[in-house]
Amino acid sequence: MPKISKIDLAAASIVFAVLAAIPLFGVTTYTIGVLTVCVCFAIWAASWDFMSGLTGRENFGHSLFIGIGGYTAGFLNVEFGFDPWWSLPAAALTAGVSAILIGFPTLRLRGPYFALAMLSASTVMQYLVIIFSQVTGGQDGLNGIFPILDSQRDYYWLTLFFLLVTLMVLKALALSPWGTILRAIRGDEATCQAAGINVTFYKIAALVISAVFAGLGGALYAHYQLQVGPDLFAVILSINIIIMVYVGGMGSIYGAVGGALLLNILTESLRAFSEYRLWIYTLLLMLILFFLPNGLIAPAWTRIRDRLARPREKKRQAIA
């Protein structure tokens, strides 16, 4: 994996600066709300990509961790009256613990079986939430969650800050020996064992890290919506996230963020055709599967970066 270059850092800084500056230009609270949701999706997509993109174990039940994070926030806040700030570490913790519990049985499974076992797990949780409606509020969910910050704009900046933290942590891990080992697991598990690597440990650890950030994102989302419902566990949420990562390009993490931003903006600009939304997503996914198996954003950026880097390298050669 190529290291982060100065151009990468510059581009990331520009994107974040633009995202952070948007609320300063007199946009409506509606737009800020859309951006907040956008950033939550980016956190979810990046955390999905860290586990599934690197190890190749596609998790069709990422919503499990999002839902657990969201409901943790809801329970602490609504039922037990904790200060909203507690939601964030608590959600990360419960999601991480649940990843250990679900990871042990499911991560023994390969390829599609892991995918479908995770799908089943998130569906079970969705049903359980509906069945135990006295505790969970059933279909209506938990309402009356307190906001963490009073100003919508400040809250958007907070979520953006957490996206930045998520990306820095995940990218640093992906570029470290950890990332090398996770990609090796994607290549061949038996060879990994023959190289002395404890594969089970790394897979579960990767799922836990992925879940921690998904849970955090779930709590951030809950404190934006001020409500959580069983739909947070829905398979379709997981599938939407997977499509975003596919569009962005798997295994690069920043591609996942790009995919999340792109599809959310697309959704918003196609608001008039909202019933066609999923249809368009699906079509996009099919086209990408056939024509751009490496996704759209990550390969596009690699090309642009090479373009930008080439003249400078020529200059360097000329000096030498």
């Binding site: 090398t180 290549g187 061949d188 038996a190 060879t191 064992q193 190289a195």
Partner: protein
């Protein structure tokens, strides 16, 4: 105390006995060969030694401690590494990254030494230094065999199990690889257990042969004794090849 002690080890697959009461030892510093026709149980034996398959009965001790029932990665971290007969690199990664994974095993991981520098040294050692930054997917077959060895060496083993390292190689590739294996033994003092079919190179390489057939050890001896042993000749060498090997 022998480096590796295998005592009465058996393995059945359903009704089929793949290994029957296999016992042998490997002394530190020697190159031992395991000879046998296909289906004799050689690879099964390797899978038991390296923990990829559980043994049904018996004792496997490495460096004086039982390793039977340990997970493969734990066995590697005790200092027993293996290669695969069918090369199994990490596709989508570069050659040097493939070796780095081995350098990250807890046994050898050292924060003070750059894993990348170590990986490159090992690649130079096995003669793959020139291809270090190539994607493993484009590597020719002969180089993949060297990469298998490099990845195993990265875990700094005391005992190296080589599963048919010459399989699928042309004559021109075999000799340098045999030289490499001999050098690893002579210079690094590595103990090696090797499965092979290619008789001539094999016999020149090893100091002791364990001959197997139908999951049993039929004899143990020097290469010269082996090629003269009637059951060995009858089982799989055939007269003509035996002459070649003896010559």
């Amino acid at each position: 105390m022998s480096l590796l002690e295998v005592d009465n080890v058996s393995k059945r697959f359903g009704g089929l006995a793949a290994l029957k009461n296999v016992s042998f030892t490997v002394e530190a510093g020697e190159i031992t060969g395991i000879l046998g026709p296909n289906g004799a149980g050689k690879t099964t034996l390797f899978n038991l030694l390296s923990g990829f398959l559980p043994a049904d009965t018996g004792r496997i001790a490495f460096d004086g401690q039982s390793i039977r029932g340990l997970k493969p990665h734990r066995i590697v971290n005790r200092g027993l590494a293996r290669t695969f007969q069918l090369t199994r690199p990490f596709f989508g990664m570069t050659v040097v990254e493939n070796v780095i994974v081995g350098c990250l095993a807890p046994r050898v991981r050292d924060v003070h030494v750059s894993t990348e520098r170590r990986a490159r040294e090992i690649l130079d050692q096995v003669g793959l230094g020139h291809a270090a930054d190539a994607l493993v997917d484009v590597l020719p077959y002969g180089d993949l065999r060297r990469l298998e060895i490099a990845r195993a060496l990265a875990t700094r083993p005391k005992l190296l199990l080589l599963d048919e390292p010459f399989a699928g190689l042309g004559t021109s590739e075999i000799e340098p690889l045999a030289t490499l294996i001999r050098r690893l033994h002579d210079e690094e003092g590595l103990t090696i257990l090797i499965i092979e079919h290619k008789l001539r190179e094999f016999m020149q390489l090893v100091s002791r042969v364990i001959a197997m057939d139908f999951g049993e050890i039929i004899m143990t001896g020097t290469p010269a004794e082996t090629v003269r042993h009637p059951r060995v000749i009858e089982a799989y060498i055939g007269k003509a090849e035996a002459d070649v090997a003896a010559a």
